[in-house]
């Protein structure tokens, strides 16, 4: 692989989902995927859309949010709410102007570090070649309301 710029990918991760014990360096970068900086929170439900927006505005190349498997949130509903916010189905919603391609959300249990590494690696790979299209227009597309 040719030399590429080190990317700035911020991962906001629930402390009960993917287990990063011995996987991070002192500054919270993943030893096996140094483009990714991991910030751990008590629950993915604590992630405010404003945090994602702030990170992108602050120059992040990509954002990863990670919660437990949908259905297994320790606090019952945190990951579902985050997913709904990202999809624009729950207040406060993530702004429609946020570049969707720069954001991924994973739902993984504490045993699934390898899956995280694999997907984060692919994401970094994708981002390194990614050129955003000309100025993002906030697309007002009504999110498909699944009858639930």
């Amino acid at each position: 692989m040719n030399q590429r710029r080190k990317l700035k990918v911020v991962a906001l991760v629930c402390e009960r989902s993917v287990d990063f014990k011995d996987k991070l360096d002192n500054a919270h970068y993943m030893s096996e995927c140094p483009d990714v900086n991991v910030i751990q929170l008590p629950c993915s439900g604590q992630i405010q859309p404003a945090m994602i927006e702030a990170a992108l505005k602050g120059g992040a190349d990509g954002i990863i949010t990670t919660g437990c498997r949908i259905g297994d949130c320790h606090y019952r509903e945190g990951n579902k709410f985050l997913r709904a916010r990202i999809l624009g189905e729950r207040q406060p919603k993530l702004r429609a102007s946020v570049d969707r391609k720069r954001l991924q959300a994973y739902w993984l249990s504490a045993l699934e570090y390898h899956r995280f590494k694999e997907m984060a690696g692919e994401f970094v790979e994708f981002l390194s070649g990614y050129q955003p299209e000309t100025p993002q227009k906030p697309e007002k597309k009504a999110p498909s309301k699944a009858a639930e």
Binding site: H28, L41, P42, R76, E77, F81, S109
Partner: protein, 384 residues
């Protein structure tokens, strides 16, 4: 509780948690997270409860609670009414299924550390629920009133009589007098209808502090559970034993270990004392479990920043443990309402933080300012 014991216990639970996650991972690979039965641990017992209520209604329509009439009415249900035997089988296996899935629910909430502090109310009502479920099942087996049921009755009466002092009064409460009469079966019927009815109240209590409890599994899972029930009925049809004879009851009983734990022990030669210790020891141990671990966030709970709160009530809707109340406010802001957190119910989970768009609520263990700062640090030091 000494520090060392607490740590050993916490270590064991952590291992069981890994085991649970491992099983869930396997289930995810077939069902995907959408239909993983472990993720509907509370909803699955509810499915069996509804099957029990509906099938029980049909049995109730034909049951005759008298000494002379009970056995013939069961015989009629089983041998004369088409699918009557099937409904009996459904009722029996749904009862077994319910106990199995309640146990699964119990072990999962225990092993995944979902059973203490702010969850103490569902835990305690859960212990009552499983006890009540056990009694409901046991009285069901007594209602059949074939010669095995008579043996079961005598066994239970002796078991109760083995308690010094109050034993004989408990026994006469159970059979409605000192000896078996018509009132015995009326009493059984009362218990077998009344105890399950009380479960509805207990379930309301069980859900009291849980916002939006997941009480229904997806239709596909229910379909498969029902399929499993029907297969069990087809493989092990339920029949009826010999006619009852009060003087010479059946010499042995067929033990359903899910509902006859002490009876099974007695039948295998255990002393009544030991059977009582086990029967009473299990719920008592369950009640004590939450106190074996030390508190996680002693005295911490979500803090509302009064100046910032607009009273939008988004946090109130999202809080998973009913810990937030919207109160009227009368200070001189233009907002009419304010969020107030109940310290005893708060899980320190931060869901309210994710819901608030005004930086008006915080949990002490991870301030939002800190998250924003860590993001900035991550971006700043990433420059190359």
């Amino acid at each position: 509780m000494s520090q060392a014991t607490t740590n050993v216990y916490a270590g064991i639970i952590a291992q069981f948690q890994r085991l649970t996650l491992f099983i869930e991972r396997i289930l995810n690979s077939t069902f995907s997270q959408k239909y993983n039965p472990f993720y509907y641990h509370g909803a699955l017992p509810n499915f069996f409860l509804w099957v029990l209520f509906i099938s029980g209604l049909l049995l109730f329509a034909y049951y005759n609670p008298t000494l002379e009439g009970a056995y013939p009415s069961l015989e009629y249900m089983t041998k004369q009414i088409p699918s009557g035997a099937l409904f009996r089988a459904l009722h029996r296996y749904a009862a077994d299924g319910m106990m199995i899935f309640v146990l699964l629910h119990f072990f999962r909430v225990w092993f995944t550390d979902r059973y203490r502090e702010y969850r103490i109310l569902p835990w305690i009502t859960g212990v009552i629920l499983i006890t009540v479920l056990y009694l409901a099942g046991l009285t069901g087996y007594m209602l059949i009133w074939d010669s095995e049921s008579v043996a079961l009755t005598y066994m239970t009466v002796n078991f109760l009589n083995s308690i010094p002092g109050i034993g004989s009064s408990l026994a006469s409460l159970l059979i409605g007098g000192d000896i078996v009469t018509d009132y015995t079966l009326t009493r059984y019927l009362f218990l077998h209808l009344g105890i399950p009815a009380s479960m509805l109240f207990l379930l309301w209590w069980h859900y009291l502090r849980i916002t939006r409890p997941v009480t229904n599994a997806p239709l596909v899972l229910n379909l498969m559970l029902f399929g499993g029930l029907l297969v069990a009925c087809g493989l092990w049809p339920v029949g009826i034993g010999e006619a009852p004879n009060l003087a010479t009851p059946s010499a042995s009983i067929e033990v359903d270990w899910l509902y006859m734990l002490p009876h099974g022990m007695l039948a295998n030669g255990a002393s009544p004392f030991l059977a009582w210790v086990v029967l009473l020891g299990i719920p008592v141990a369950m009640l004590l479990l939450p106190y074996l671990q030390k508190k996680q966030f002693r005295g911490q709970f979500a803090q509302v920043v009064n100046e910032n709160c607009t009273g939008c009530s988004l946090c109130y809707h999202d809080c998973p443990y009913e810990a937030i109340e919207m109160m009227d406010r009368d200070d001189d802001t233009r907002f009419k309402r304010i969020a107030v957190v109940d310290p005893g119910r708060c899980a320190n989970c931060g869901l309210c933080v994710g819901a608030c768009a005004f930086k008006a609520i915080e949990i002490p263990r991870m301030n939002t300012e800190r998250v924003f700062k860590e993001i900035q640090v991550a971006l700043g030091s990433a420059q190359s």
